[in-house]
Assembly symmetry: C2
Homo-oligomer: 245 residues x 2
Amino acid sequence: MNNYRLTLSYDGTKYNGWQRLGSTENTIQCKVETTLSRLLGQTIEVSASGRTDAGVHARRQVCSFRAETIVSCEELLKELRRYLPQDVGALDLSPAPPRFHARLNCTEKTYLYRIWNSETPNVFERNYLYIYSVPLDMEAMKAAATLLCGEHDFSAFTSAKQMKKSPVRRIDSIEIKRKGEEIQLFFTGNGFLYHMVRILTGTLLEVGAGKRKPAELPDILASHEREQAGFLAPAKGLILWDVQY
Amino acid sequence: MNNYRLTLSYDGTKYNGWQRLGSTENTIQCKVETTLSRLLGQTIEVSASGRTDAGVHARRQVCSFRAETIVSCEELLKELRRYLPQDVGALDLSPAPPRFHARLNCTEKTYLYRIWNSETPNVFERNYLYIYSVPLDMEAMKAAATLLCGEHDFSAFTSAKQMKKSPVRRIDSIEIKRKGEEIQLFFTGNGFLYHMVRILTGTLLEVGAGKRKPAELPDILASHEREQAGFLAPAKGLILWDVQY
């Protein structure tokens, strides 16, 4: 068996997230596994760097899978581009070292959350932007973001009810940029809990809108209580930007 | 009756073009007229700067319509943003001089044709790009574009069979830019015949791919024969960029 590394890009609008579920076929994992299995004439299981939720997009999602080789990576990449649905794109395919595993070896991830901070409609990117047209205090958001960086117990920032594993994660940076009417939040860290980026975004938006003060963030972190943090920002604005190994 | 100027943006993917047709309701004009008529409680007819074909988009399409005033432009704009479909956006609404007519007064239009010149998929902009992954000679395309500028009889560059009106148009500029893997063609002129921008694009792509020489263009223009020009580039890559008055 050989090991492969596959990089994908997808528009998650129509999908029920990355992960194959019992009966639901409408997941990105299912589309990719079905296509690979058919092309290679063998059952293929694909591991991604992490799940993305329903409606969340990926600019670069890294996956790994094992298979008996049949064709070259170049040929298989061409076939994948031909047979995958239009909203799932194969960016790259290469042989990987035998022990490479897309989830286990991932060291850092970057997510982008895109906010359309305007009342003027943006029809072309409507599926990738969360419309939040309230004026935002960018300096307050940046001050709050600084307080979230570093290693913390992020229990207050997840929808996961019972944590089997540690809720401690390290955020390396949160970059906040304005690009015309769009506000972009880039989150880079060693891992993110279930819904964590979207709750961080909701909380930062509440700070930007003046509903909370940056100084409240250490208390929210210390509370470990979901109710103390801000709202869950919608899936459509979230995109897995990049994955590091 | 008052006269109004409405600026729209639309993703034409799902529509049968701008113009309301006998039985088809799936046109942008129909959506806008229905929404305006309901909001204002009177029958509203909307004129655009020009038709766009099925699948063609508009970044800025200017329209005019007459109505008895009921609410302020500000209020009506808000309502339009609320009730128009998600792929049709109302950018601006203002009172217009009594004789303003979006089509008759239009002096210049700019169209953008977007080409994805790569084999790497672009899932996020797939509905707005024509994939043409052959390597392109940009200098040859620019040389050919220069020969198309100016006032010409563009009969060779239209799908219209019988011209009731003059086939003479003036192209003021054709700008060709590369932005990473994307090639953008901006066409500015005093008007464009049916399918003209798409046939100009197809012809320029054939020049870029080495199938034709720039020097052939004067002969193609002089022939007045559709068969002499290049292929009709698909609608999805075309966007009405701006309209001047």
